[in-house]
Amino acid sequence: MTAAETGAGDLLRIEGVTKAYPGVVANSDVSFAIAEGEVHALLGENGAGKSTLVKMIYGLVKPDAGRMIWRGAPFAPSQPSAARASGIAMVFQHFSLFEALNVAENVALGMETPPPMRELAARIRAVSEEYGLPLDPSRMVGDLSAGERQRVEIIRCLLQSPKLLIMDEPTSVLTPQEVEILFQTLRQLRSEGTSILYISHKLEEIRTLCDRATVLRRGKVVGACIPRDSTAREMAEMMVGATLTPPERRATEKGEVALGVSDLSVASPIPFGTSLKAISFTVARGEVLGIAGVAGNGQDELLLALNGELRVAPDRVRIHGKPVGDLGPTDRRRAGLVSAPEERLGHAAAPNMTLTENALLSGAVRQGLTARGFIDWRGTEAFAEKIIESFDVRTPGTHVAARALSGGNLQKFVVGRELLQSPEVIVINQPTWGVDAAAAAAIRQAILDCAAGGAAVVVISQDLDELLEIADSFAALNEGRLTKPRPVQGLTIDEIGLMMGGAHGMEVAHHAG
């Protein structure tokens, strides 16, 4: 047998791996191999099964069928510590840092046998300098920016000198400049012989960084390519399985100002949150204002301050010139403002309640679903049905619990619920987060249609491509401050990056690397 057949040159081979969850097959007969010292991309839409696959490699989930071969020997990690012992490290997209613990403690938790704290702190400093990732070991993680938090995770991995580093959507929390620095770090690692499994759905990134790519769709491998030799369009079609048309936008006349925010400052109600500092902007009828920013720079707080969950002085927020800053969500809805928060389950919708009840949740006021406090259940159900129909929400009916819907379907329901209330001002945070491409396109189109119909729209998003696609004007949130909105036309990616806060003081540090 040749080396290729036995897989001797490969660091990790995945062979026919299958994993099913109730009602959904996350991975079906997935096979591919990662070579020593390569950056291998795992490309796929949200829900394509990328996360499940890497959880199997990391020992968090056990496959139902199939096998993995690590450096020529069968490999079945029973838990993450076993994977770590073999030389696999992972940088998570979410959920792996402890806000109330400091950097060194967080790093120690990811190691099997951490050295004493003082020694560990010294090693963190050394590694962070070597790879151009400045970090203070004694700082509380809750006080760090999203980019800095990612550095904690990366350093935690690097301290174990891994053979394979798994990175799950690492750039979603970074500014363009920070992405560039991250890529330098990853290239440095590759040159030292470390393999990297790079999970993303961002095509341009993969083209710049990765040596090979495996494409997943609905749990199956649908193709492989050399990203440098493929166009973004080819890869996109492999990933989505269809050709997508970008949303269509009609030219609309900007009307009078519908939403005005002036000098809005408010402390964050969220632990370790970001306070808003002197935010001012206006949005006219028919205008879409896109607000960019790296996660954790005040996006959640801005939404709360706009939709009334966070109250401020009356004249800080005006709808059609009327001061509404001191009004709560119900009264602001009455004044014409609807909103869709980022977190679908738990904030925008109650997980255990039915779709009908969730339709009532924010629709009661503008849809007139109550009379003297008594609920018109029939009318509410009709409203829920209308949302399901207009937004193509896939559900057995209005009686199912919100938590039973897939992420994309629930997002369509939540966005539809707000957009169907004939709003005058719309505020949406992350309208297409974790939604597949077809649903995302539908949601963007619906937002544009509302704007064309005369609504003023604020879209807060971390997806720059999305904002450039639908926004008329563009501003960025950085540490609770908002830049002056500028017309989207003529903006370069570098300018956008600088608006988002550049690289948060990292430029100098990377000259060594």
Binding site: R84, F98, A100, L109, G110
Partner: protein, 309 residues
């Protein structure tokens, strides 16, 4: 109004009075640090009180009695662990159930033991040290549990601060999702913490029935478990402040008892409700000021964890 109250005796007896709540609160602190809210402290204490009492009376050994008390409290807490960690039941409701069940079961078990005197728990023999004026009585005249309770605070403090196990415990209490993602056994860690909390509460309960009172009556703990819970909040989840809180509370209890005995002008009823009123007052002070105490609470406190995927 303090005439006739000997300060050395007052301090010595406040140390004794604070032992039950100190033990129980130290245990609960560990439980809450692991992200679990066990409101069943009162139930576990009273189970400890009755089990400890019975064991001591039957064996004639106070030491075995304390062990029995710890076992009784831990046994009841195992039920709580089963409900919340395996059956995914609501922690608040399960804690209440624990208390209601513990009160009933303890009075059932203790039926034949009303009016009996338990074996005497002796003081630690410190020899000549006990004869030092003032300090001899304040510091060197107590039974082993008084010292054990202070040592327990120190041990918990060191464990949470410096030990790897303590770091993992805090991590689980901060974010069970993250701890799970790193491969820590969230449920196992929480069950162990719950058992420790149960044993400590049971020990505290046994101290009430074996030393503090010492006899068995129904409802003997009289809210001590709830006060222990309040002290954890008062302490903002810091071990040494638990000690401070317990001593403060012990001081108030002893003082009001002394005032009652000394026949001060204050009506007995006002004195006997004072510990509860002061607890409320302290809770108010600690939790106001923009929720400062709450800021220190473990972030996943009271939430159940189910590893979905």
């Amino acid at each position: 109004m303090f005439g006739g109250i000997d300060p050395a005796l007052l301090i010595a007896s406040l140390m004794v009075a604070s032992v039950p709540i100190l033990l129980a609160a130290t245990g609960e602190l560990v439980v809450e640090k692991a992200g679990v809210l066990n409101l069943g402290v009162e139930g576990m204490m009273i189970m400890g009180a009755v089990c400890g009492f019975i064991t001591a009376v039957v064996t004639g050994s106070p030491a075995l009695g304390f062990l029995g008390g710890a076992a009784g409290g831990a046994g009841l807490s195992l039920l709580f662990a089963l409900l919340t960690q395996v059956m995914q039941a609501n922690q608040v409701a399960s804690g209440l159930a624990l208390t209601l069940f513990g009160l009933g079961l303890s009075s059932l078990l203790g039926q034949g033991y009303v009016g009996i005197k338990p074996p005497h728990t002796g003081a630690v023999p410190f020899g000549p040290l006990a004869d030092i004026p003032f300090f001899g009585r304040v510091i060197f005249g107590h039974d082993p549990l008084v010292y054990l309770s202070v040592l327990a605070v120190a041990a918990v403090w060191i464990f949470l601060r410096n030990a790897r196990g303590g770091l993992i415990l805090r991590a689980v209490g901060e974010s069970h999702e993250a701890a799970h993602a790193l491969g820590y056994k969230v449920r196992r860690i929480r069950v162990l913490a719950i058992l420790f909390g149960g044993a400590m509460a049971g020990l505290g309960g046994a101290y009430i029935s074996l030393v503090r009172v010492p006899q068995w009556t129904d409802g003997i703990t009289a809210g001590a478990g709830w006060i222990a819970l309040a002290i954890v909040v008062f302490a903002s989840w810091r071990p040494w402040r638990v000690l401070l809180g317990a001593w403060l509370f012990g001081g108030i209890t002893v003082l009001q008892l002394n005032l009652q005995a000394a026949g001060s002008g204050i009506p007995v009823e006002y004195l006997s409700m004072s510990p509860y009123l002061i607890t409320i007052l302290v809770l108010v002070i600690m939790s106001s000021g923009r929720g400062r105490a709450a800021l220190n609470a473990p972030a996943s406190l009271g939430q159940n964890f189910h590893a979905a995927r």
